[in-house]
């Protein structure tokens, strides 16, 4: 597969993320698929941050392996990243800032000094303009026409006309300077790919999906990597008529969302593991009061505060077990930006249909990295139905029963304001009408019977969810040497690894468990029994999905690739492990 990888590195405050975004858009606009990986730290200035943009005419899913053009804003970037450069790689740096001795440059790689500061000074004393020169040089080396870069910059500085002029001038100088000194990279792509692609983060896909799915009320408390969901929705709140409430903490956020949902609007909250820990009691409250609720859980490296800016899939156990007692819940774990968009719309449908909480699990890697999608992959034409229907069946002779026993477990739902259907939603156990059976009646024979039936009514919903949701997908060839098994963002590097392995003559497929709970145990078992070999791929220490699969199917997945260092999986890691377990390379 043809691809090109541009990496920019420096300190926080150097503007690396903006450079990275420009690196992505100069390709998506010309119709290439892109993946943008943002590696940053929990500091606002200093430290070491880097961004990698990978582009290809073919569908790519992950950050890929290696690097072709390294734009180094400091010496540390050269030291940390030079070894990632592939054959023909180029290091772009400014000799006014630091020198790059020959021993720091791997063989097959060349260092290209570009006087970014000096050229930038022709336009402004502001050192940040050096990046425009640097981007110009890198665009040339990557084979991107200057006017494409100009177009992207024009949009980035849309609101600052004077700054734009400076940037365009500086970018042109950088472009021409590099042109005079070096041929373009031998990885450069053709000038034009297909139709322009959209570029968005996983969180933007989720936020967009929420809006499309009918979200009216978001309550959230900032926590990486969920925060940008609130940012995007707050930005679009007036255009979409959505109320965005920054709550005082996560306890308030989830309880506000539950209150809003009870009152009849589609409501959501989003957080990471730490905030989700605080939401746990209220999650059960949504289950008990049978209030629809969507909770986005964007995982990051735990335990505790952990690595706030690094990725992990370590919260599956918590999501499975969060809150006391048994109640029905759904956990979705989409494996791409497109899937995240659709899963969010679906989460609202499921929450509403089954009147229970739905957890949308993502992680820092999927949520914050940038993905290219085709326009058609984000259909916005969904029309959420009205919630103000008169619940059926209503009265009967006993009056309205909010928690009526039904075969599906779903009872007719009234919304406050509807006449004649008044009821109390209770976090205590209750009877069909919503009256407590937890105090003076607790333990009396009739209440014992009601309690048992009420548990069974609620838990029955899980069978309905299973019957109406899609079982895990087996992606890739039917006949495979290895069946990889994973959930959520693991699909991203796995899909790229599958491509690489196919070219090596080692066909593998992937069981994408996009809905870890309730697990379609029969389909999973069938796929696993049919597999020649299995390999669990997860980003956590204990193989949490593997344990769930064993619990639900009795099937053990002894071969595991588990990663918990905070970094995303790279395709080569998966390729390497597959080659090892299939005996293609000695272990």
């Amino acid at each position: 597969m043809k691809d090109i990888l541009l990496r920019a590195g420096g300190a926080a405050g150097d503007g690396i993320a903006s450079v990275g975004e420009v690196f992505c858009r100069i390709f998506t606009r010309n119709g290439f698929y892109v993946f943008g990986h943002n590696a940053y730290q929990s500091v606002i200035r200093g430290g070491h941050v880097w961004f990698q943009a990978r582009a290809s005419p073919d569908r790519i899913w992950s950050q890929g392996d290696g690097c072709d053009i390294l734009y180094a804003l400091d010496r540390a970037t050269v030291d940390f990243h030079a070894s990632s450069l592939r054959e023909g790689g180029i290091i772009v740096y400014d000799p006014e800032k630091f020198s790059v001795p020959p021993e720091a440059v791997p063989s097959g790689v060349k260092a290209l000094p570009v006087p970014t500061l000096e050229l930038a000074r022709k336009f402004s004393p502001q050192s940040i303009l050096q990046n425009a020169v640097g981007m110009g040089a890198c665009a040339y080396l990557a084979g991107v026409p200057l006017d494409t870069l100009d177009g992207v910059l024009a949009d980035q500085f849309r609101k600052k006309k004077d700054v734009l002029e400076q940037n365009l001038g500086a970018a042109k100088l950088g472009y021409e300077y590099a042109q005079g000194k070096s041929p373009a990279s031998n990885h450069a792509l053709p000038v034009k790919g297909g139709a322009a692609k959209l570029l968005l983060s996983g969180n933007q896909a989720i936020a967009l999906g929420a809006a499309a799915g009918g979200l009216k009320f978001l309550a959230q408390y900032p926590m990486t990597p969920a925060t940008s969901i609130m940012h995007w929705l707050a930005d679009h709140a007036s255009a979409f008529d959505i109320l965005v409430k920054q709550a005082e903490d996560e306890l308030a956020a989830i309880n506000m969302a539950i209150g809003a949902s009870y009152a009849g609007v589609r409501a959501m909250t989003a957080t990471s593991g730490g905030g989700f820990s605080l939401m746990v009691e209220a999650l059960g409250q949504a289950g008990m009061t049978e209030t629809p609720l969507v909770v986005v859980e964007a995982q990051r490296s735990g335990p505790s505060t952990g690595l706030p800016t690094k990725t992990e899939q370590g919260d599956l156990n918590m999501m499975l077990g969060a809150s006391q007692g048994d109640f029905p819940r759904v956990i979705l774990g989409p494996g791409s930006a497109q899937e995240a968009f659709r899963a969010t719309v679906r989460a609202f449908e499921l929450a509403e249909e089954w009147q229970t909480p739905v957890l949308l699990a993502t992680d820092l890697y999927l949520s914050e990295d940038m993905h290219s999608v085709d326009r058609e992959e984000l259909p916005l034409d969904y029309a959420p139905s009205s919630l103000f229907t008169v619940p059926e069946p209503t009265n009967g002779s006993n009056g309205y029963k909010r928690y009526l026993f039904t075969p599906s477990g779903v009872s007719p739902r009234a919304i406050p304001g509807q006449k004649g259907l008044n009821f109390v939603a209770g976090s205590d156990e209750h009877d069909e009408a919503g009256h407590l059976i937890s105090d003076v009646n607790a333990g009396v024979p009739m209440a014992i019977e009601i309690r048992r039936k009420m548990m069974e009514k609620r838990m029955r919903k899980l069978q309905g969810v299973l019957a109406t949701t899609e079982p895990p997908k087996l992606e890739g060839p039917a006949a495979a040497e290895v069946t990889l098994v994973g959930w959520g963002s693991t699909a991203l590097p796995v899909r790229d690894a599958m491509g690489i392995l196919a070219t090596k003559g080692v066909p593998v497929n992937y069981l994408n468990v996009h809905q870890p709970f309730p697990l379609h145990a029969e389909s999973v078992a069938k796929a696993l029994r049919a597999a020649k070999r299995t390999m669990l791929v997860e980003q956590n220490y204990t193989g949490q999905l593997g344990r769930l699969i064993r619990a639900e199917t009795g099937i053990d997945l002894p071969v595991k690739l588990l990663k918990y260092d905070g970094e995303p999986l790279y395709p080569w890691e998966i390729v390497g492990k597959v080659l090892e377990v299939t005996g293609h390379v000695p272990s």
Partner: protein, 297 residues
Amino acid sequence: MSLASAPPKTEGPALKVVYKSTTKPTWCPGCGDYGVVASVERALSSLQIPTHDVVVVSGIGCSSNLPHFLSSYGFHGLHGRAMPVAEGVKLANHGLHVVVTGGDGDGWGIGLGHALHAMRRNIDLTYVVMDNEIYGLTTGQASPTSTMGQKTKSTPQGVIEEPVNPIALALSAGATYVARGFSGDPKQLSDLIAGGIKHHGFSLIDVFSPCVTYNHLNTFDFFRQRVYKLENAQHDPTDLVKAFAKAQEFGPKIPTGLFYRAEKPTYEDLEPALKEGPLVHQKAGIRGKDKVLDEFV
């Protein structure tokens, strides 16, 4: 034995709205909370608000069972979390009247943070706290409003923390209607609650509602001997400084009545998303708004 009571009556005859539920309260005989539920009922009936336009939200505690003893909509949630649920209800449908009820432990202990934030938002909720200076449902531990030196099950040697002062807290947090009632004076209490419901903004009615089972210090008699009415004491409820001064009186004489009232925009007034009316009646989804995708190019 019937577990489910008969269907709640939602509408009474012509001008009378009946809030009484057929579910009988489960409080101990003599509990102060009986007077509070009767006062809430009377206040709502006097305002002639249809029962289906009222949502009573509570947490957990003896007092928090109150929504079950009214015929309105209700949400009986988690210990300390009634306030954010109520805020969610109100923001989703600000056409509803939302009343929050609960205990001193629920509101001034575990839920204190939420209460303060709701007050500074001046969101249009009516908060009725049944303050018995004890944890009733968990059988008699010290609460955040228990008196210094008071012996309880969790403080056999006496409480060694200063009590929370709900009135002073509410005044400093930005509540725009701050009142204190006494379960032993249901007439004054129902007027204060009705005033709070009518008030456009956050209203607090902290109510002395004695726990006859676990608090032998703050009894009906204790309060009867001490309370006096602010309305009879030339108190000016528009004066915040005087209200603070009155909030400090807690000794041989304890004021009840309206400490403070101010007119200010509510959170709902200022929230742009509510300009077009209650969220619940607005259209959902972004059909036809495909232009938004252009920002991703």
